[in-house]
Amino acid sequence: MKNNFQQWQSDFERIPPEIEDRVLQQAKTFAAFGKVVEVFVPNALGAVALMIGGEAPMRPVAHGPAEHLTDDVPLWRIPPGRDH
């Protein structure tokens, strides 16, 4: 049961729909910008580090040499003849 204050407020709760469009459009823009930053900033920092004579930060290698492999082999990649 609403009191008189809450009743008075509920008279104003009909928000124009265009505000939702504007807010959610900005939310999408922020999300897209966040993804761009996530992808490009580490690479850009690595490039700057190399330019000033440092080393680029280590990143996971998709198909690296065998010595990079650890004993934590995924189950689906257990080599033939090797136990669990």
Partner: protein, 199 residues
């Protein structure tokens, strides 16, 4: 075999929606939060700013602020209290900027009550006819208006109101008392010649 029960997104709690939004950055979760609170935020902005155009802009700015600060929400209070506190502070700041000499609270107006003044019971405000209440509230200084809205619309605790306004609990209690006294004075000025008419 019983079918798997999947929860609809609109049934998620605020905390679940926030956690999923922060994890996936999917605006679908934020949309649900927006639809849950936009009406109430808009209504508060209209009541505080007394201008629909400004209330639209304020609502948009407030939700962008909420979006950008979502990761800082620590769940020390409910999400609704957090959103409303951003709303009240935003509106009070806007009023402050608009007027060079803002009259935020009753003590700024000149009538400062003493602690010995009689306490006005809640029923004086809660039993006021809605259209009269609206006129009385409209004549209050913005700070008093906000504090009464927090107490009687949002059911906020004294501690939560203090957190929003940056005041101690005793200062908030005093402020509520002054706001109620001020409301009574305004009511008497407007309707002293009319017969008492309640809801």
């Amino acid at each position: 075999m019983a079918p798997a029960v999947t929860k609809k997104i609109v049934d998620y709690t605020d905390s679940e929606l926030i956690a999923r939004y922060l994890r996936d950055q999917n605006t679908m979760y934020f949309t649900v939060l927006y639809r849950r609170y936009a009406g109430k935020v808009f209504a508060k902005c209209i009541s505080m700013l007394a201008d629909e155009g400004q209330a639209r802009d304020a609502t948009q700015d407030i939700f962008i602020k909420v979006l950008l600060n979502l990761a800082k929400f620590t769940e020390q209070s409910s999400f609704s209290t957090w959103v409303y506190s951003i709303t009240y502070n935003y509106c009070i700041d806007m009023i402050r900027k608009k007027k060079k000499m803002p009259l935020l609270f009753t003590e700024d107006v000149g009538k400062v009550s003493r602690e010995t003044d009689p306490e006005i019971p809640d029923s004086v405000l809660l039993e006021m006819k809605q259209e009269r209440l609206e006129k009385v509230i409209d004549r209050l200084p913005p700070g008093d208006k906000a504090i009464l809205m927090m107490k009687y619309i949002d059911d906020m605790q004294i501690r939560e109101i203090g957190d929003v306004l940056g005041k101690t609990e005793s200062a908030v209690k005093m402020q509520i008392m002054r706001a109620k006294q001020r409301s009574q004075v305004i009511y008497d000025e407007l309707y002293s010649n009319d017969p008492i008419e309640n809801n």
